[in-house]
Subunit: 303 residues, 4 copies
């Protein structure tokens, strides 16, 4: 199979979804992105990369950064992490305080905002500069030292960050945020501001397709740990639409409100798609459609 032809056909087949959905507008910088952007890239476990459309244009990866944060914490802490964060799907919006209060400050999973704040808190304890840790891991896996934060986005997140501040303060009141709340929030906002392209993200996701083996050939964590992280992505990676995503796409995936989605085909490849228009649950409309089309054409769902 010629991967590039395949990817090209996928984009053609979902052309009608391009520009649909609603671009995230909670911060002005995200709202100004061209809604017709659409990129798709694939990186195989063997090291090849293919891309079509706007696959090389960096965008705000937002919550996709949580994948790299989780990987680093699991590599450092292993199963101890699960004492502070659950691994069940939430059934609620990504920034809801309700479940967090009912469950006494233990976030349901690490891909909710609350869960990712705990990851950040833990990365601060493990690495000191948690921002740099995530950025450098992303750079190394994507083999692209140019990947960097977008300071304007980080500042804008901070200026509109009351909801995340509420989550962090609540967890601090429960003893589940240990570093100063302001520091945790700042580092969290910086991580969310990372800008990378589909090509970068597909490459950076290969360690999950390669069952834990990094771009440099070293092992980040065990084969079993990698499978388990894929399981968390499948059940929790797309906000409260994880069931829908599993049903339509059938792959572990993680989305961000910047319109990006990273999906893993274990043993085979990582895929990254980007299109800014979001559905009501916060997932890229054209992005989900493209991944749906991809698995239909190839039959490569994990089910």
């Amino acid at each position: 199979m010629d991967y590039r032809d395949l990817l090209r056909r996928v984009l053609e087949d979902v052309e009608s979804t391009r520009g649909t959905g609603r671009v995230a507008d909670y911060i002005p910088l995200l709202a100004s992105v061209d809604p017709r952007k659409l990129g798709l890239a694939l990186a195989t476990v063997d090291g090849e990369t293919f891309g079509v459309g706007d696959c090389d244009e960096p965008f705000s990866i937002q919550s996709i950064s949580k994948v790299f944060g989780l990987a680093l914490v699991l590599a450092g802490d292993g199963d101890r992490l699960w004492e502070r964060v659950g691994r069940e799907p939430s059934g609620n919006a990504f920034n809801s305080l309700i479940q967090l209060e009912l469950e006494k400050g233990i976030p349901r999973n690490p891909f909710l905002n609350a869960g990712a704040l705990v990851l950040t808190d833990r990365l601060l304890s493990l690495h000191g500069d948690s921002r740099a840790a995530v950025r450098d891991f992303l750079r190394a896996e994507a083999e692209n030292p140019a990947i960097d934060f977008d300071a304007a986005v980080a500042a804008s997140e901070a200026a509109h960050g009351h909801r995340n501040a509420a989550l962090a303060h609540f967890m601090a009141s429960c003893g589940n945020v240990l570093n100063p709340v302001e520091t945790v929030l700042e580092h969290y906002f910086w991580q969310c501001s990372l800008a990378a392209s589909c090509t970068d993200l597909a490459r950076a996701g290969r360690f999950l397709a390669r069952h834990g083996v990094r771009a440099n050939g070293e092992r980040l964590f065990s084969r079993s740990e990698a499978k388990r992280m894929n399981a968390v992505m499948l059940t929790c990676g797309t906000y409260d639409a994880a069931g829908e995503f599993a049903y339509r796409v059938g792959l572990p995936g993680k989305s961000g409100v910047g319109g990006g989605i990273l999906a893993i085909i274990p043993g085979r490849c990582a895929l990254a798609v980007w299109s800014p228009g979001l559905d009501a649950k916060g997932n890229s409309v054209a992005g989900v459609a493209a991944l749906d089309r991809f698995t239909t054409l190839t039959g490569w769902s994990i089910f």
Copy 2:
């Protein structure tokens, strides 16, 4: 009737409850109060004051300060306040985020922590120094210029204030806190730290028994406004035990976790009781018992 004899008999009748319940321990300074303290004072609409037990010892009035904050905002804003705060009983704990999120950042009533934070926010806009406004109002009504903040309590509240910070940031994210969150929190903590005695509080509550007429003879707000404020105290003044308090005591009242309760007998008098041991809902065990006994002996429930 000899009021002092009556108050003395009430305290005798509830002697068995003295020292029961659990002293608030979320900040160390509250936890160190002698649990056997018990004071009771009554101030008539005619200007007489009677007290027994530890009625002249200042204690941390905590949430009772919300009565004075609410009165000042109603005097300034009238019914416009109710666009930002409800006046329904909550059915939930005083610091719960759940209802606040379900109701999009509009607190159910002004006596929940969230509601009082909105009051503070509004007082900041109305008076600049909201702390001084509440303190000076309390001093004037109690006719005691020595009433003041307890800086150590305020600092301790701030150090343990993550839960309130979560409430304030959440409301800010909904546009229902307009001043800087840090300022609102600081002023809120200072107000809660006000120290006053039962005698002070009973006197300070007279304006509600006198249907809006202040200690200096001026009118704070209309007769109708005063009645309505009493209604809010009855339905919302004792956390999620307002129904229980109405059932047992049958008076508008407002409690604080310092163990104080202010109760109003419209047209007749204001009562203040203090005993630090709290029940599971956060109301003074001996305090509720004393008010219950008082209304049973006198028949002066509003029902």
Copy 3:
């Protein structure tokens, strides 16, 4: 004061609200009532009755029947009732299952549908024919032997009773409904179908204004019990608008979706008003307006 003139003036003053609101339509028989009906009656503790407008036309009293059921259970069981039902305001809709599940099948108060189903269950155990017990009590207090059920309304309630069946089955699963669920539901629907006029209801409510003394001069329950029942009506009698009702009207009251409201001025009189158009919380628009106007004109709020 001439009571009839007073009542007439009240109706004139609220004329603009006549016909506003939305008539209950969950059963066809209620939906067909003329929305412009408006009646008001007052019965003094001394035995006089005054009425204006459609004050003698029977209407479906619906949830107002819960007042008489509660009185009978309190007369029979006293405080033991409170082991099976709470007495706190609910903060939720009258037929919500959410709070009931969170609180393990103990209804928050006896005026919620779930609470009234427990009352019916208990009346079945106490009196056998709970329907007859409530009807006969109402007849005796109203001194009108013609008061009766509306069989067509009862049948219609049963035909649209899935929500109440859900509440009853849930409580049965928690052990808080002891008689057969079908029997409890049937008796509940019959009680709700009772038809009475404003004049009937005002008379029937006198025992609460007279602190427990029935129409025949006998005591139903103690003075203290009567005051406590008024407290429950104030905090819980108007669905999740109890705070609003206390704020505007300032009287213990109980409303029904038929558009009736019974209100008590302790020591003085009982008032009944009827107008079918309801607000969003299920209370009569013109009815609340009339009571609001009445307490404003007379100053007879309990606050």
Copy 4:
């Protein structure tokens, strides 16, 4: 690989979990099962079956019957089903009314009790005798005409069925149960009472491993439909522990409170395990341990 040796080793490795957990006791017949029972069977897509331990002893399959009900409704209705039931993980207990009320009577997924009641309602409309439809489908796929209901279990379920009655009546009040509630409940209880062995279940699950092809070689539904049904099992099949099950086992699976679990390895085989002791979420302790061990030994997780 010798499958029987593999299965034997799995059971040896989890021997320490045998008899642990708590046997379901909500109906007496389930409570009387020997807690040390442990069986495991595997049926390949090629038609071979292997089993160890108590693999041929029938047990109450309970909620595993929902797999066969869902398959029949999907075969009959396709995607129209999803207008009446969601496919998102629930995050709440299998019999909770809270989410159902918040989401207006649309169950979060077909494996919740509420969801399965909708399946039963739909099967009644599609097949008339929904009980027979599910039983006959199970018989045909297991190639065992002796599979049958346990009338005593069905009667016991009905006698303790108030919670399910509450769910069904609530959905009927929302228009999401169309047949008479009593009929739906009866058929639901009968389906849950089906008794089958691990060998039966493993065989009966092959159509999911064979991407929709039945035991008789006919296609039940499309390849895509089969994959999607596996996705629903993965995200929703083990109550509110779906994330945990995906994390530990990494296979689509469906558990029942009888202690059985059916798991699918797409393209390869179906597995069934049985051990009555349950964990706090209602899943078989030894059963989950055995599947966990199986995927660890073979590496056959879908991730």
